[in-house]
């Protein structure tokens, strides 16, 4: 799953605030580090050498000790003041984060599962709600309010270029607000260890210009496209009769389970398995045959089907734009 995935290249107000705070901290800490190490280096450089048999000088030198005590006191005072400054910078940044205006926000209900993200786009009329997986589209410039809930273990939602991370904890509900100010694809990844495939639980937030976003949203609300070719019809038949329909849902077909990603518009997503494998016809067939090969330990079982059946299913799923 490719996309901008970097704390140091922010694309939203939240990440920008954090980037500024990072710079302040970096500068302050580097200064402290350099000053201390230089002081140490000078001390070591100028201090005379001796051997272990040299007699320890026990009588304190009043003059030298006075200067040293003054420098230590100044050192402590300086570092305390610096820490206070950093503390204030941290509080200011924290307030800025929570001050994001939320008017006209896109509401997304994000549920973390073991090793994929379920996103349900809510809307005032129930008929217009739809759910997708692992790839979220958001309009540029409009705030997004994401409600976070975990279905099994603790996960953590984190798209570094847009905002800080927030944990999804079973039994608790938390929300995070973010906004993308530049169009682009921003990658994120689960940041709390959640089991075998914590490594491949990525997600992508695609910031589209408002017009593209409306078009994408309208497309997502459509039921699945009817199969046209014989191969696609065969693919649909297999999807409805074999184990796919036991976990997946494709609106408009008899597959209506909710335990796995909604495949109604799977072809509009660039990757499968939350970033495990690219969504090309060949790889899709291989993924259906044995997902454990790419992502061992996930809940999707291998399917022993003939190669042309796999091709038919891959073709059918490929047609679901």
């Amino acid at each position: 799953m490719n996309g901008v995935h970097d704390v140091l290249s922010p694309a939203g107000p939240q990440a920008a605030t954090l980037y500024q705070l990072w710079n302040v901290m970096l500068v302050a800490c580097t200064v402290v580090f350099v000053v201390t190490i230089v002081a140490l280096a000078i001390a070591v450089w100028r201090a005379p050498r001796a051997t272990e048999r040299a007699k320890p000088d026990l009588d304190p030198h009043p003059r030298k000790v006075a200067t040293l005590r003054r420098s230590v006191v100044w050192g402590i005072a300086g570092s305390s003041v610096l820490l206070l400054v950093l503390l204030l910078a941290s509080f200011v940044a924290d307030r800025a984060l929570s001050a994001l205006p939320l008017a006209n926000a896109v509401r997304i209900d994000l549920v973390g599962h073991q090793f994929w993200w379920e996103a349900r786009y809510e809307s005032h009329s129930p008929e217009l709600t739809f759910s997708t997986a692992n790839e979220l589209h958001v309009p540029v410039g409009r705030p997004v309010l994401v409600r976070l809930r975990a279905d099994d273990v603790i996960h953590s939602f984190w798209v570094p270029s847009l905002s800080g991370k927030k944990d999804l904890i079973p039994g608790r509900e938390s929300t995070i607000a973010l906004r993308a100010d530049r169009a682009g694809t921003y990658r994120g990844q689960c940041a709390e260890f959640c089991g075998y495939q914590h490594a491949q639980m990525a997600l992508v937030v695609v910031a589209d210009p408002p017009a593209d976003y409306e078009r994408w949203q309208a497309l997502q609300r459509e039921p699945a496209r009817a199969p046209e070719t014989a191969q696609e019809r065969r693919g649909l038949e297999l999807v409805e009769q074999t184990s796919c329909a036991m976990c997946h849902a494709i609106h408009g077909t008899r597959a209506r389970a909710r335990r796995a990603p909604d495949l109604t518009h799977v072809a509009s997503r660039g990757w499968l398995g939350a970033g495990a494998v690219e969504n090309t016809p060949a790889l899709r067939a291989e993924w259906i045959a044995n997902a454990q090969k790419f992502k061992p330990g996930i809940n999707m079982p291998p399917l022993d089907a003939a190669p042309d059946d796999l091709a038919a299913m891959s073709a059918y799923l490929g047609s679901l734009r």
């Binding site: 009769q241 074999t242 329909a245 976990c247 044995n290 454990q292 061992p296 809940n299 079982p301 291998p302």
Partner: protein, 189 residues
């Protein structure tokens, strides 16, 4: 403590570690891929799985009933595939109770595999074409742990959910007994 006693103690320790190891490996193995097709049971949607299923069930015991991953996967599938709809959490509903020791068609893993794969006339749907074989074996292992017939070490503990019964690792296969709800709390005594 004469040294002779120590040698014997040493031998005993090594033996017990050996036993622990073998049971440990079997219980803790995480095999995400199903066994090679040879050891499998033919399951084409139409053909009924034959007596071979029961014969090969014995071979499956180590890989499923004594394996904690397989039994807990069976417990997850029990909820995912709506078995809990008819059988609740083992107590039964429109389907029979599976946590007691009364088996309508037999309680061994092979028969349970056949029941899931081919269904039963009185209302058990056939899942053979819709659930992969490996998962049917996992479900069979979990059903046996419901009744306390699978190994207690591998049996799953309680779920992070609403408590409806004592965990499977507690269940022993004695008969169901009646539980009078106390008037005040409604909790069974």
């Amino acid at each position: 403590m004469s040294s002779r006693f120590l040698d014997r103690a040493l031998v005993l320790a090594v033996a017990s570690v050996g036993a622990l190891t073998s049971s440990g490996c079997e219980r803790e193995a995480r095999d995400f891929l199903p066994p090679k097709p040879g050891a499998e049971v033919g399951h084409a949607a139409s053909a009924a799985a034959s007596a071979a299923a029961i014969a090969s069930a014995a071979a499956m015991v180590g890989r499923y009933e004594h394996n904690a991953h397989a039994v807990s996967a069976g417990k997850r599938l029990w909820t995912w595939y709506n078995c809990s709809g008819c059988h609740a959490n083992g107590g039964g509903g429109s389907g029979p109770a599976l946590m007691d020791d009364v088996w309508i068609y037999g309680g061994d893993a092979g028969t349970i595999y056949l029941t899931i794969a081919n269904g039963r006339p009185n209302g058990m749907p056939a899942f053979g074409s819709r659930i992969p074989k490996d998962q049917i074996w996992q479900l069979a292992a979990y059903v046996r742990s419901l009744a306390g017939l699978a190994s207690a070490d591998a049996a799953p503990n309680r779920d992070d959910a609403f408590l409806t019964r004592t965990p499977e690792s507690f269940s022993d296969s004695q008969k169901p007994e009646t539980v009078k709800p106390s008037a005040a709390t409604g909790r069974p005594q």
